[in-house]
Amino acid sequence: MSYRIPIGPFHPALEEPYKLDLVCEGETVREAELHVGFNFRNIEYLAERRNYQQVISLVERVCGICSNVHSVTFCMTVERLLGLEVPERAQYIRVAMAELERLHSHILWAGIAAKLIGFKTMFMSCFAMREKVMDMLEAISGNRVNYGMNCIGGVVRDMSDPGAILGVVDAIEKELVGSIIPVFTTNSTVRDRCAGIGVLTNEQAKSMGIVGPLARASGVAQDLRRDAPYLVYDRLEFDVPVQTDGDVRARLVVRALELLESCRILRQVMRDMPEGPIAVSTGAPRLKVPAGTAVARIEAPRGEVFYSVTANGTDIPQRVKVRTPTFANMPSMQWAVVGAQLADAPLIQASIDPCYSCTDR
């Protein structure tokens, strides 16, 4: 006999609201139905009622973790419409912010995963490590969540102390290599808890169009930083970790290895960042953008963020479309939990690294 278990919209596994209805037979999940929209703010509509300067602040509120990603992508889209060339130093600073954001996002996720696995000391280690990145982001931008670093034409703050960033990178890498990565890749408890559950096959990943580490853990070797380079990623050396098992463990391994790649990128950025201006003047805030449509996308911590902006010659965009990575990834959850043990469902859903604030916008 089957029975239905409603999980959420408010629940202990994640701080954000969403609802998962599971139909179980015994301890086995047979069906899953996902309900989102509890964070719906209609940011796309709100963006069509503000000037371009104001929209930067608005889209930074799409997500509380990868906030910088949204303001960068929006600015890149508008810069394309304006035909603006962003100064090189600003591009390097944008990359540095993006990789610091990836570090704190992946470490946050590692902590949550450790907690759900039952490895609570690792949870504490991860959050202590994340705090170092947050402190660095605060030192650079003055803010811990919404950094306010981007403007159309560049960035609003310089990075005055690259040595401090390198110090944080060294400290994080040491902890990653010394404890986090060995635990996530070789520890038998973690392996037993995560291997073989929540599997998304390569075919499923492709048909659902999933993105980011979730896709790379299912053997889909896509990363926009390499495949469609933007900013100065084409000048940087890094690897794109890919796993083929498609299970929770593969997602752990991909994100753990990506942390090291972000450290590698940050070192190159700090070494190669040229002197020079950090923005070009655009006449903001009453900036008028010529009619047209442009798109831009970047590789956020959870995968591809896509923006399309249509301008009509005024200072207010006619249309702002935002496709976030979790919006693309979340429907796959309904496949990943089917056949799993009920007790594994929280870990499986967390392994997608969902962001409902992003999804609902």
């Binding site: 989102v36 929209g37 719906f40 209609n42 796309e44 509509y45 889209t77 394309r80 419409l81 492709k206 048909s207 659902m208 169009g209 896509q222 926009l224 495949d227 469609a228 009619a291 047209g292 449509t293 442009a294 798109v295 831009a296 996308r297 591809e304 896509f306 399309s308 249509t310 006619q318 249309r319 479309k321 496709r323 919006f327 693309a328 979340m330 429907p331 609902d360």
Partner: protein, 146 residues
């Protein structure tokens, strides 16, 4: 691409020559994407063709147009390039592709809720973002006005 800047082509033939992205076939590279705007677009032929090329469906962007219609731009990723097929609804209806491409399911549901576009051929239009009592077409100006 501003609305209508791309030279419209009568129809697209979905064979591999399309992927040569030639100007005479209506393709234009601008502002981060390759764009094509056929007078009529068979979205199901487009979907079958693009999936056969191992392309990834990224999203569909809807924009309100006059007369109650909606412009639709289908964005695909093909080997790192964005290919965009621009078209428009007829009586604010358009054929669904979600049975061919599961990635389109949530996007069609969202587009229905924001712009009341009816994607024909869908078996269900379950609520996605809107709460009960909110009318579909939330982002159309005549409905969304404060």
């Amino acid at each position: 691409m501003s609305e209508g800047v791309v030279m419209p082509v009568r129809e697209l033939r979905f064979d591999t020559s399309l992927l040569e992205l030639r100007a005479e076939d209506g393709w234009e590279e601008k502002n981060g994407s390759w764009w094509v705007a056929p007078e009529t677009l068979d979205p199901r032929a487009m979907t079958r063709f693009m999936l056969a090329q191992d392309a990834r469906f990224v999203t569909v962007t809807a924009i309100e147009r006059e007369g109650g219609e909606t412009g639709l731009a289908y964005h695909w990723d093909l080997k790192g390039a964005i290919l965009t097929f621009s078209t428009q609804t007829h009586e604010n209806k358009f054929p669904s592709i979600s049975d061919l491409c599961p990635a389109a399911d949530w996007l069609e549901r969202e587009t229905y809720e924001y712009f009341s576009v009816e994607f024909t051929g869908r078996t269900s239009n379950k609520q996605l973002m809107l709460r009960p009592g909110l009318e579909a077409g939330l982002n159309r100006r005549q409905i969304g006005k404060p």
